[in-house]
Amino acid sequence: MSHLKKLESLLYRLITAPSGVAEGLAAERALDAGGLDDIVLGDERLSAEARVDIYANMYFYRLLDALKEDFPATLAVLGDDNFHNLVTGYLLEYPPTEPSLYYCGQHLAAYLRDHPVREGAPFAADLATVERAVVEVFHGPDAAALDPDSMRAIAPADWPALKLGIQPSAQILALDWRVSELLRAVEERRDWTPADRGSHRILVWRRDTRVLYRELDQAEADALAAVSRGATFAEICEVVAVDGGDQDPVAAMNRMLARWLADGLLVRG
């Protein structure tokens, strides 16, 4: 191993040591007798250890701040101390590997699912799942949305075989807790109340550059799943007819179609 690689590896371990540079140093058995002072120059203002510690602090707090920005509602329900502890463990389990801070929160919801901190807020992992989706949808790929005029221009004979799609950035999430109202309350700086338990799906999508989300009922969730997997319009109508029960399937399909178009959700399949 080159001298430079040894130095970078050592500094990486010290900067990311969970209990600080001092404890990190104690674990470095391969260091010469002079220890860190033989490697990093210290002076009467700052020791070698204190200088590395500046980087250790910046590492943690830069990532903590980035995660606070991406997960404001999760932070609100867990509180500062719990969120701090969550992030401490998270960075050990999932240290950043990507060049952009955009990715640093990509595993937080999964990590939170098994973390003791969620005992006081069992809905927190679902909340973090939606918040992460909001970030991903915000930066997701663009596609031109279909508008009512382009739909009206389709010949009646072409409708049964018509294939539609949904915005490539859109996500449909399966959740166990109804967190959307809580998230909206935090976004609007209102008081929030804990989420109720209830399996459901939520759509997160982008209209122009604004990220939106809303709960889906079973019929719409199934219909959108059919759209996403490339079903023809006739097949989507069948899904709606089966799910709709006593509802008029044509009216139900029309309502959904009108809403999807208004939402800017549909693209050419």
Binding site: L41, R51, P96, T97, G140, P141
Partner: protein, 298 residues
Amino acid sequence: MLKRRDFPMLGYGVGLRRQHYSHVLETRPSVDWFEVISENFMVAGGRALEVLEGVRASYPIAMHGVSLSIGSTDPLNRDYLRQLRDLARRFEPAWISDHLCWTGVGGRNLHDLIPLPYTDEAMRHVVARIREVQDILERPLLIENVSSYMAFADSTMTEWEFISTIADEADCGILLDLNNIFVSAFNHRFDANAYIDAVPAERVVQYHLAGHSDHGTHLLDTHDHPICDAVWALYERAARRFGAVSAMVEWDDNIPEFAELARIADRARTTFETATHTANREPLKKTGKPALPADHRA
């Protein structure tokens, strides 16, 4: 050999930050150019790219990265470089810059600018990587001096010898951050003026002007304060030595209103004119590359 005159003189710009997106797009304020953080736009789609399209239609830009990690002993991240190259092909920046440092090792990223030891080994390592990066990006790279809080016992040269040798050997440009020189000079007790006087003048293509915070024992490069008088004095010294160099105001925390940033950029212009007038130089003749019309780009 790379020369500053190979690059346009963009004038006096500011860093494009999210807080000012709407203001810039709606009012097209009078500022010469924008520097953008490359990684913020290395995304699939959405508002960031839409904003950059709008800004680029009216202003020249330079792309400034934070994650190239040119000094890392990890292999170069070719996916990252391809994305960077594609972004540059799309938005045609006047140049691309990143920092003379490392940001991670072992496949992990510290998201911080960690200094290198100033050794022959590190110098040769970085030179080889810059050459490779320039080939992939299909254009020269500017390397920026970083603020640092630690220096290494193994270093065998000064920081200005290190960056100058690398720039000469790799044939790349230099983005001289005058605040970083001031911060590191305080933290490591070297002479900031000696730094300005030593770097190869023809390779200095851009300046950063920024503020820092004073922690008593050390200065921290926080970009959250006004530019201090001592950094303005370094800028005057640099202006007299290097002549017309594109300058940019960098502010990343406690970000003021855009008008304040534009005012500081204007101060950079008048400071340059005053400093160079005293030295009987030619007045600045702006040769900034005009922004491309939107329909000339994919």
